[in-house]
Symmetry: C2
Subunit: 557 residues, 2 copies
């Protein structure tokens, strides 16, 4: 694959200063929709792209098309939208999901065990069986699965499977033996070894996962390159042209750079480093420039303040409704959170803090209030997930330019579990999209891929309906928190760009922006949620170049 893309991309790389690489062109006969930088809807019938791969003009039927064109691409009357921006995902996580055992489609423990057994039989050369995507809630298990159950599928190879949210791991007995886990093993800070009668059952929450994870063979660079190529192919096929990569490691970064250097990086990655050490290692004294024709930048840092709700790692103000002795996990002390955020802010990096529980959200809001005194200007402090917020804290999300980076599909996946974990009275501030907007906050929407599918049309549908793929609950869960179609589209386009300091380049098809667009068969401003879910992406273009076509793959392998 790489070899064929190389000449194409080499031209791309030098496009900005060379007229040879690009040509002026027209995408005509489209039903075009975009938002401008203020969120206003613009409809158009054709789009002119300049020699730099930027939008130069939007045309309606009244406008005359210019005569001198290097190409005229017929949009065949389809819907044109800006390329979707996923404001929160894990690029390499998706890539490795596509390369390893994926349990996200399993609906019961038995189904999962069968899939694991088959995968092990199909891959006898693997030193470890690695996978992810299990969800005991979806299985209706009412408890965690165990190492013994896993042994019944595979006992003669170590098996290590991440939960769907990445906040728990499930090991078989051989994996635990290798990791020397036994009754004497103690839960580390920020994590928990699940035990019954003092015996580890095979489930490791948050930081405890590292006890097993560190024994898993590290992927080779060629594995990483393959994973990146797979992730890219997947995202482009879903209409995603840009993604915020939440937790970029130096090894991830080096893979992105290899792709950029070799000329096959075809989507845009907004990197948020996995902690301040990786941030300094990757970017040095400040954010990197936009590299590879605006395909790659390290502009911020991802910090984890708590875990996830499913594994009861979310840090709550009051105990879990279904576990009265637990309030979740606080990963960073009061002072550590502020120190890391300040470390980033002082060098112009953008902190993006994972906060799911109401205690975590309260603490990061408080930290932003503190730090805003010292680090002024246009900072765009990001909170990732913002799932459970004390209603008393909601108004604060409209202050200090805070961006609430939220994932609509999490709401539809989580709602039953959230009701059990939180109880009814705490749901008022749960997944409170419209309340945040009304408080003056700004939403950037995403998928948290590979925790959920990256499909942005599932996200748009969930955002406007708060119904799941089966239309449940009818009318939407806490429907006052639905957003409008325009708000949802903004969250997946121009506001996602804004959240990464890219709104002048990306997220809108108004002139001067990059010609990142998709052709689809459904109008998200008119269709029903269930129609939106079924949206078919026909073509994806990045920087005025076609990079995906549903009929013929752009780059044959």
């Amino acid at each position: 694959m790489k070899r064929k893309i190389l000449p194409l991309l080499t031209a791309l790389l030098c496009g900005l200063s060379s007229n040879a690489a690009y040509a002026d062109g027209l995408i005509s006969n489209v039903n075009g929709i975009t938002l401008d930088e203020e969120g206003k809807v613009i409809r158009f019938e054709a789009m002119l792209i300049d020699a730099n791969g930027n939008v130069s003009q939007l045309l309606t039927s009244k406008d005359k098309a210019p005569k001198q064109l290097d190409y005229n691409h017929d949009g065949k009357g389809q819907i044109m939208l800006p390329g979707m921006i996923d404001a929160h995902g894990h690029v390499m996580g998706l890539g490795f999901q596509l390369l390893t055992l994926d349990l996200s489609g399993t609906n019961s423990l038995e189904e999962a065990l069968a899939a694991i057994k088959k995968y092990a039989a199909d891959n006898p050369d693997r030193k470890w069986i690695i996978g992810r995507g299990w969800n005991q809630e979806k299985w209706g298990l009412g408890r965690f699965p165990t190492a013994k159950e896993l042994d019944s599928a595979v006992a003669d190879m170590p098996v290590w499977l991440e939960r769907v949210d990445g906040h728990a791991g499930w090991a078989n007995s051989m994996a635990m033996q290798i990791a020397k886990i036994d009754e004497k093993s103690v839960s580390p800070n920020g994590g928990r070894i699940e035990k019954i009668d003092g015996k580890p059952i095979g489930i490791f929450i948050d930081a405890a996962s590292e006890l097993v994870q560190k024994h898993v063979p590290v992927p080779l660079p060629r594995d990483r390159d393959l994973a990146l190529a797979k992730a890219q192919e997947k995202l482009l096929s879903l209409g995603i042209t840009s993604i915020a990569d939440m937790g970029t490691s130096i090894d991830d970064w080096q893979a992105y750079r290899r792709a950029g250097d070799a000329g096959w990086l075809s989507f845009r990655i907004f990197g948020y480093a996995a902690g301040t050490e990786e941030m300094v290692k990757i970017a040095g004294p400040g954010p990197t420039p936009w590299l590879y024709d605006d395909k790659l930048r390290l502009g911020g840092v991802k910090l984890y303040l708590d875990g996830a709700l499913g594994s009861r790692g979310a840090w709550l103000k009051k105990p879990y409704a279904d576990a009265p002795t637990q309030t979740g996990l606080q990963f960073l002390s009061f002072s550590d959170l502020r120190n890391y955020m300040a470390r980033a802010a002082m060098d112009g990096f953008q902190p993006a803090v994972h906060a799911i529980g109401d205690a975590a959200n309260a603490d990061v809001i408080d930290a932003i209030e503190d730090l805003s005194q010292t680090y002024g200007g246009d900072r765009r402090w990001r909170i990732e997930h913002v799932q459970i917020v004390d209603p008393a804290d909601l108004p604060k999300l409209g202050q200090h330019g805070i961006i609430s980076s939220m994932q609509p599909v999490h709401q539809t996946s989580d709602r039953l579990m959230a009701e059990v974990r939180l109880g009814q009275e705490r749901l008022n501030g749960a997944y409170a999209w419209q309340s945040i907007i009304k408080a003056g906050g700004r939403l950037a929407l995403g998928s948290d891929v590979p925790v959920e599918s990256a499909d942005p049309f599932a996200g748009l549908a969930a955002a406007i309906s708060r119904e799941d793929a089966d239309g449940q609950p009818f009318g939407g869960w806490l429907p006052a928190e639905r957003v409008t179609r325009e708000q949802a589209l903004a969250g997946f386009t121009i506001d996602g760009a804004y959240a990464a300091f890219a709104e002048k380049k990306l997220g809108s098809l108004t002139p001067g922006h990059r010609a990142d667009f998709i052709l689809v068969d459904t109008d998200p401003l008119l269709a029903s949620p269930s129609q939106i879910r079924k949206t078919k992406v026909l073509e994806t273009w990045v920087g005025g170049r076609p990079v995906y076509n549903h009929i013929k793959k752009m780059d044959e392998k």
Copy 2:
């Protein structure tokens, strides 16, 4: 500085595909000298440079200059040479030498202590006083200096000073306290804590240095950027346009990339990673492409098999003449050396193994013989330094395409010390340049900067004379090992390029090569060694662009 260079270099980066960035030009009225790829001398009077920054034609007075020129630069009758290639240096080591205390000019312990005391007084805000360049042999001390002596200069701040060869460190008492070094401290593998009557004296040889080094604050990325800028300025002013960086860390690499990304990298770095782990981290599944218009590549790995002669770390077959119980340090076991070399070779990386003592050289030659069975083709196995070779092993340096990467000035600096360390009978295979060439070997010459000055004209003079800067010993030390002027020039140009797989691009001014050249006031093929040493570099050009001028700095700060 960066801001001004940016537009210039952005154009440069896209030069290959854009005619706008470059122009066809002539460098006229020069006394031009180059070697072709076979080492044959070519003289010329003018050079045409094409729009890509490559040499397109060499002209003599008989040739007609083309009429259509974008520029015609008058060489004012000066000598034009290819840009010098330093086949072995430490870019960041040079940069930090220029930013920290430099003791390389001190001629006695007293002088050094005075310099240290002054530097500490001038830099009261430093947490540690860091420096390098001391040499107890040059001071005529006959022993190592001690912590107590260092305390007499600075006692209230930790002080840590590397020996000139980088193979020993000198700490004061406060530095040793911080590092918790006392009578109970044990020398690590591959290193030695120097003790007298069981008490550490403050000197740490090779791997023992890490015991103190790990407590020294790590430089910040902005410090690295500044160091790189200083190193670049220095190298270009000396006429060096390319350097093999022997021991590139990921942090070094990230600084090089920052310079490339920001557009101010103006010389060429051939990176050899600091070990196989850094190699994989930096480059991944194979060597990187040539980046930034051939300015940067990670193509190999540096491995250390032994230490240095001055600190008695060189691994000898028989004991040191002046230390009958010691045979030096073997850093890698028989199998580790072969494993690391194979790890590199299997992915197409080029191993470059530091070997100074005759036992080390014998072992690496033996390893190359073994590995050549499995890893065939054009491998260009490199041995770095090749200082002391058993005459019985010399013929083997002509086999398997081995490159002997040697530093002429080391010979003149070391000769008295080498006589003491080795005794007369072992000198036959010492710094045996001409014997290696006669055996069919290939020399790549360098400086080992910052161990020695990077000045390539000092290297050329030493290579052809084996006399030091004072002309001692008259007629040269073991003069049979002198090389011819043409051999010396090849070692600093086309053979240095060959040693980095770059001879098709660099090292010669024949058509198709990069227009990397210097204008100097002295003809190295005609002048006396002492005249060559005084050579003045007037201009330095890289890729057809001026990057240094002795009168006006190209990029004003």
